[in-house]
Symmetry: C2
Subunit: 501 residues, 2 copies
């Protein structure tokens, strides 16, 4: 291939490349409403597949879906001190309930509310209030609820999918009788996220715990999965919070235990959002556009008929239609294989690139010669070259080919992460790792630094200076005696440091 479909390329200007991929794949765009995006069908189709995969896992692990109000009375938010502190600075406030003609002819807000309502930035407070009514006895526990919904956080600097004022997510909320059970749930849901990331998104993640300053406001502990994007930055991809009794005390979630004693319950919450679509783009996209892992692809296969006249057309389309039926009769991981036949009247090259840019895993070009030879011309989105293939061989191996793309994408992402993750044991090396060689030009640098460290508060200025954050303390690590590379203090744990989204 001579020229790439996306300009600039990743190495030329990564942030601009990201925007261009979204535009070229027609996934989303900014709306005229400040900070809110429009998710277009191709972007939504990916989110829909993410939802289906996660929802199935949530149900398998015993959770049920429910729905709670969009609005939270201000007083509810105020009940948990750290929580309101964390969200008050960026939330949409509803103060009136109608519009009426104003003095200058236009409409003005009217019908002031007695108590302002906050558009939910997250639902611990409103869901907790309901839980406090539902829970009476240990027999009512656990409560295992999930909600798919929109939330609003008034972000000032927004980026499509990664940071928007309104976003879509799921938020799980559970109540347990014991600390141990709530911890088990917190860890279980982190693992659900991690397996979703690895198996569906083909995105390797590090499972870890956030340091105190990075916790969810009001949580006792926040677990996280962290992924490396192709510019070597970290993206927090899903979090699971052990809330201890903080929220149950603020919201009075109490139950009578087996001995008739009244106890505060233990709660958890966990969430994953449309941000994951951004993570998918940045994990797999290349200089020709989006690359979608087959398990999440809105379409697995696109068929591109090629012909020069009506005679060839009917011959080729007939072949395509019968092949399409054969493909659709198969199931890929218990889902129908999603195939489109693109017979739009546009130039062949343009049409091919349309689907390349959208990241459709497989392209089948079918012309009169393929019909004659009973073959297909197959292009895999994860490989540059296309090649001819016997029709029966193709249909018999279709699921295998899709799986091979899926694992190839995972291996590629893992390789990139492994190459850019290292143990760093001196401050000098740390600084060098996170400093671009050429300050004048945007340049991909850094990665994940695994370092011994002791106290985050003491090292804040160094990190701020380098624009580096502590991503997490990995859950699985061997314990060695070491000393903090910033303070020299003795410690046994390493944390992952990185620049981040």
């Amino acid at each position: 291939m001579a020229k790439n479909a996306i300009s600039p390329t990743r190495t030329e200007d990564y942030p601009k490349w990201y925007q261009e991929v979204i535009r070229a794949a027609d996934m989303a765009e900014n709306s005229p409403v400040r900070g809110c995006m429009v998710i277009k069908p191709w972007g939504w189709g990916i989110w829909e597949n993410m939802q289906r995969a996660l929802d199935e896992k949530f149900k398998e692990t015993g959770h049920e879906n429910a729905y709670f109000p969009l609005f939270i009375p201000k007083s509810f938010l105020e009940k948990e001190a750290e929580h309101v502190e964390g969200f008050a600075k960026e939330c949409a406030i509803v103060t009136h309930h109608r519009l009426e003609p104003g003095p200058d002819g236009g409409l003005v807000p009217a019908g002031p509310l007695e108590e302002p309502l906050v558009v939910r930035p997250t639902s611990e407070t409103i869901i907790g209030t309901m839980f406090s009514k539902w829970v009476e006895s240990y027999r009512d526990l656990p409560i295992l609820i999930n909600q798919w919904c929109n939330v609003v956080r008034w972000e000032m600097r927004t980026r499509l999918f990664l940071r928007t004022a309104e976003f879509l997510w799921q938020e799980g909320h559970t109540v347990h009788a014991t600390e141990e059970q709530a911890w088990e749930e917190t860890k279980q849901m982190l693992e659900v996220y991690a397996e979703f990331a690895e198996n569906f998104m083909a995105m390797p993640v590090i499972r870890g715990e956030k340091t105190p300053n990075e916790r969810f406001p009001g949580a006792v502990s926040t677990l996280t999965i962290e992924a490396m994007m192709q510019d070597r930055k970290a993206l927090q991809a899903g979090t699971s919070h052990f809330l201890g009794q903080n929220f149950s005390k603020a919201q009075d979630i109490k139950f009578q235990d087996e001995n008739g004693q009244l106890q505060f319950a233990y709660t958890t919450s966990w969430g994953l959002s449309t941000r994951m679509v951004g993570a998918l783009i940045m994990t797999h996209g290349d200089d020709d556009g989006l690359v979608v892992p087959p398990r999440l692809a809105p379409k697995h296969v696109v068929m591109l008929p090629i012909y020069r006249n009506d005679d060839e057309r009917s011959q080729v389309l007939e072949y395509c239609e019968s092949l399409k039926k054969e493909i659709e009769a198969q199931r890929y991981h218990d889902e129908k294989i999603r195939v489109i036949l693109d017979d739009r009247d546009i130039r062949g090259g343009e049409k091919k690139w349309y689907h390349v840019k959208r990241g459709v895993p497989l392209r089948l070009e079918v012309g009169p010669r393929d019909v004659a030879a009973n073959s297909v011309f197959l292009g895999r989105r994860d490989e540059p070259k296309s090649s001819g293939m016997d029709r029966a061989e193709f249909t018999n191996n279709l699921c295998g080919i899709l799986d091979s793309i899926q694992s190839n994408l995972y291996e590629r992402a893992l390789k990139l992460r492994d190459e850019n993750m290292r143990d760093i044991d001196s401050l000098e090396e740390f600084k060098a790792f996170f400093t671009p060689k050429n300050q004048d030009k945007p340049e991909i640098h850094g990665g994940f630094a695994s370092c011994f460290f002791s106290d985050e508060n003491e090292i804040d200025p160094i990190l701020k200076d380098l624009k580096v954050t502590i991503r997490c303390i990995p859950l699985e690590q061997e314990t060695f005696d070491g000393s903090c590379i910033f303070t020299g203090k003795k410690t046994t744990q390493r944390a992952i440091f990185a620049k981040s989204y």
Copy 2:
């Protein structure tokens, strides 16, 4: 059965019965947020199944899902005069974007917005604004989009599912090059709704057109499906709007036609909401609680093991588990059969009624005698009696039994409607039809009156007095010469009149 599970019964107090069914089936409850409900897992499960069935139909008819902002700038709403008139009086207005400490210590709204934002009551204006950017040429048409989301209309009197400030729905929005195509779409989507109502909800509906006063604000024509509830009132169950060029002119949705001329496009919109869950309750519920049609049931089958000691327990549970696997291996209308084994440690009678009240289509009671005889004791929710059945006979006929419940529910609802729908050709008869015999006691009366009529504006006082509304002008009716029962004017069309939700 001696006593009914729901008190009051439908005839004793229908509105209260409705509330009681929702409570007894644990479907939803009021939240502490004015007008907003909490949809609990059993209610949500039904909505989820409705969503899946509709979504599949939308996709089959060429629509794609997308997502647009929750907020609509006030000025966007103002562009279409009738539209803003229709929604300005009841909408949630966001005026600030953070909370900060106020003079008396509490938090107060801060960060006033330059332009207030309206929480979407429906999305024609924001989606139309995007469409105006997307449409340039006739080649871009049609645009066929659907959105699943929450909307807010500040209703003062709310009732669970039927009328709430926040509700969930889907809203379809399409753009077409010609009037004819837009009309075809409007009618097609009404038919999708009608078939969903009939085939999934087992609820017969009348397809009709709204009279001008009852149209969607800004529409040229509104088509509707109207269903009769068991109290003989009508419920508008889904609407499909032909918007003509009203919104395309207000939002500047123009395209270049094949001759290079700039034309305003034609648009449609259509919506169906969580109100349908209310319709389902009121169509099929009985004095023992909810009755869910199998096609929408969160669980198709519940297994209730019965035993007196540990020995019997292990025997019965083993039998249940193997039977459960056999059931789960089957598919009902291309979906897995959803079965639960309820082995909670509560009394048998209580447990049985728990599932009766929730309307699970089939209950299987399994005791040691069933194990010995290789049989099951089967209770259908649509029939009062339970009866023994050979195990193999049951599993071989399971889908047939579910279908028979489905069609039985439909036939029952159709019979009720037919019995309470009549041609009425005099005003006296009309008044008698809609007047309860005993004014002191709530009483089920009325039904659907099909009457010749000419002009709705002239008859408004009569209808208001009787609390009757014009539901629709049925799309399929033979044309006869008649005269309006209210004004005596010559006319050829009948309309359906009814009290309504």
